[in-house]
Every structure is written in C-alpha cells, then in structure tokens.
Symmetry: C2
Subunit: 278 residues, 2 copies
C-alpha cells in the first residue's frame, strides 16, 4: 500500500492509499477517515459507495461527514467507483458506463469480466485490507449515493449478516428497469436478463431472508427521480414482502452533494446506533 | 442579474447569479446562501473571500458551512476571486496572478487597472447588489481563506464601521513581505512600494483607529506557513499597536478546505455573536 496523502480533518486523519487489488487485477485508490478515537482503540467502519463520475474523493470533500464521524468514533472508507487501469473499447466514452461507473457488480462480459469485479472488491477484498492495516473492528455498515446507493443496498441485501446497517441517498433501486441500469447491466452482464436479478435491489428484496432495515433519503426535486430512481418501486416491493423500509422524501432537494451534506448526519447516527456507538 | 442555479441546502437555498459589474466592467458570478430564516425576515450577511485558484463555488461545496448558517440565520455571500472576461498578457498563465488571483485590491497598473477592482467590487458594489435584491439587512461580517483571508482583513481594517466582525483562515497577513504578495502587488500596483502599504494587513494595523478584533485560525502543518503566511508578523504588529487579535495555531492542520471545514463553525458563531444572532 502506498500512502498518497494524509490530511488532518475534524480532529482525525483523512488518508488516501493506492494498492494492488487482486479482485480487479490492478491498482485501486481508496480514502479512509480515521476519527480521533482510532488513536486509542479500534473503531467500526462505514463504507461509502459513490455515484457515477465520482472517485474516492468526492464524499470526503463535499459531504461534510467528518465532524460527526469524529464525534461518534466512526471510520469511513470510500473506494473508487470502478477499476481504472484499462482501456477497453468504450470504457472511457460515457459517464454512465465503464470508468467511474462500475455499478458494484461482478462483470461477466468480456473484456469487462477481466477486471470489473467491484462487488468482490467492496464486499471481500477491501474490508480485509482495511481490517488488516488500520485500527478498526470487523463491525461495519454501508451507505452510498445514486449508483453507490444501489451498491450499498445490494451489498447489504446479499450479505445481511456482514453489515450492521445500510442506508442510501437517492439510490438506483431497480436498475433492471431504468436506462442507467439497463445500459450498465447489458454491457457488464450481457443480454440475459435472468442474470441481472442478483444485482437489483427490488428483486433481491423478494428473496431476502434476513430483513435488514433499509434507510433511504430521496430528494423530491431530483432530476433523475422519475426516469432512473423510482423509489416507489422500492416502497412497493418492501410493502409486499414486509421488508422494513424508512423512505424519506425530502422536499426541494436535488441529486447533489448539497442534499447529501444536509442529511448525512442522520445517516451517520443511524449507523452509529446499529454499531452500538450511541 | 441572471440566476444560474438554485439548490436546496440545509433547509435554505444556495443560489448562483451572473451580473454585469460596474466596478470590474464585466460579468461577475457570485453565490449566496440564504438560510431558512430569510423566508420570514431579513438576515445579516457574512461575506466569504476565497483563495488563489478558487471561484464562488469552492466554499459552498467544501466548507460545510450551510448547516450552521441555517441554524444561526446567517446568509453567506461568496464572490469570485477575480474578474474573468479579459485576456491581458500573462493574465491566465500562473495560479497566483491574474485570473482567480485578484487579491481584493484596486489595480493601478495597465491593463489590469481597467478591470481588476476587486476591492471596490467586494466593499461597495456587491453589498449594494445583495442588499437591493435579497432579504438581508445591512449588517455584515467578512471572512476568507489565504488570499481571501488577506482580503477579509484589509476590507475590515479599511472599513471597520462597515463590518460587525472579521475572521480569517491562514491569511496572507503581510503581502508586501512574501512572494505571493510581492508578485501580485508588483503586477497590479507597480514597483512603488509606498503604494502597497494600503493593501497590507500588518501595515494597516499600525494606523488602525477603530480596533476591530481579529479572529484568525492557522494550521501549523500549512505548507505555506513560513514563506507566505507568517502569522508571527501579525502577532508582532498587533502586540505593538495593542490591536486585539485571537490567533489560534491549530496543530496538524494544513492549508486545505479540510482545515476550514474543521473550524468554520467557530467562525460562524464568532460572527453570529457580533451580529447579535446568538
């Protein structure tokens, strides 16, 4: 692991690292915020998955989460949003596919199948690295925004005993039924829609045995609300399958980090409760 | 005035406007954060002056100030850091002179003297525009970072009855004695150093009749501390002239917005007290 930067923030330290990933067969960068409590004891970790076009940096720069994380004693880890080292046909041509658009799944279509294994990276490899190298416990929660909200929800639904809690901002809850998801899943998984189901929150809810409660904020002035995000689909399937869901529609808020910054403390406190920090 | 964007943030609204400025003889963009209280009554304004390379956007995206501004009932206005519409020789060649480096003074050297009148813009024209177009009172405070900390301090020292309070993060306090200041002042004001004195905080302190207290935070791991920022010069002149100064050296903090975000709430509360908001 190579330390890229180390910056004091809200009494703790924000560090960025570069490392060789086995899951994605290349170099990856992640950011970790270590609250001041981590100098004395191990702390639990919130994994944050960012949205389309982002890197590990956006959340740490714009969400304003460090002050509350420092108060609660919660580490935050932000992975990048895709592998970066390759140059496949079309990989860098659009904002919603390829680089910075890994969709937190394991690709099966070549050439993406060679390296686009963001699900394995986020669920398996990255926590192992974090727990082996930093003063953190194995207790973890997960959250994210938009494509990263989708990522947080599928990671938690597929591994409910791994995460103490899950939350999302403006998540893509039903990617098999929206343009962003259809484009990405076709490119990464192929045209057999059967294979898509395991990466779709609304479809995973149908089969969820452990019913980890979902905590979701959605702005009602979000430009992507009707075409891409469709929170009503999540409401419907959670109601049908008796899956606990807190969906807050926030009047006037859009899809930006200003929306996230407004409500991030509620999410941090939600996770802190599940992690027995407060 | 043309509204460029309007985004809900911490219960209030962040708006960006483009307008024709008389002071700088061209188009300028500014951002204003209106806290929720502004829907019911007029609120006072904190002017925030950003540093080298910034625009009106950095502070609103990275400082995390909106939550506390919303709690206090304080509007925040962020101007741009220079005029933008021109293409003078050398204007866009370096990060520390010309565009995004206006230094909040009135240039006297051609061609910059034609448009680089950021002092007039910030002290006179912009407040008039803000007070004529938004639900704000005439009460105001001023703060800023680095070049903008210099700007906040000189604006307040030259107009102590105009501002209820002034603060700064890592300000350039003695620009006549550091490379950033010497380069900028030579380019904007010419080689006669006598004319520089009116734009230098440490030199203005000598003649300050109204002793507006200065509140300054400075990270002790700031890369620019020794060559450019020199807070000890401010300490010395304030002690000599009995000018009230609170200078906090913050251990481990650098020059970044992570430093600003860590301590911005202290500054907002400082200004809110002076503005009788708490």
């Amino acid at each position: 692991m190579e330390l890229l930067s180390s910056t004091k923030s809200s009494g703790g330290w924000l560090k960025r690292y570069k490392h060789q990933s086995e899951a994605v067969k290349g170099e990856m960068v992640f950011a970790i915020y270590l609250p001041p409590q981590a100098e004395q004891k191990k702390v639990p970790v919130l994994y944050w998955l960012s949205g389309l076009t982002c890197t590990d940096e956006n959340f740490m720069q714009k969400a304003g989460a460090q002050a509350m994380a420092a108060e609660l004693g919660l580490a935050i880890v932000c992975p990048d949003t895709s592998p970066r080292g390759t140059d496949y046909p079309g990989e860098h041509d659009s904002y919603d596919f390829g680089s910075a658009a890994g969709f937190y799944l394991n690709a099966t279509v070549e050439p993406y199948a060679q390296t686009y294994k963001m699900y394995d990276y986020v669920v398996q490899e990255l926590p192992q690295i974090i727990e082996a190298n930093f003063p953190v416990t194995a207790e973890k929660s997960i959250s994210g925004h938009s494509m990263g909200g989708h990522g947080a929800l599928i990671c938690a639904l597929k591994n409910p005993s791994m995460y103490a809690s899950v939350s999302a901002f403006a998540p893509i809850v039903n990617p098999t039924q929206c343009p962003w998801g259809e484009k990405a899943f076709t490119g990464y998984l192929g045209s057999d829609r059967e294979s898509w189901a395991q990466w779709d929150t609304c479809l995973l809810i149908r089969d969820a045995k452990e019913k980890l409660p979902l905590f979701v904020d959605q702005g009602d002035a979000d430009n992507f609300l009707e075409e891409q995000l469709k929170p009503e689909a999540l409401e419907k399937v959670c109601a049908e399958h008796n899956h606990p869901l807190t969906l807050r529609r926030q009047p006037g808020y859009d899809h930006s980090y200003f929306f996230i910054a407004t409500f991030i403390n509620d999410h941090l406190q939600h996770h802190a409760k599940a992690l027995n920090l407060c």
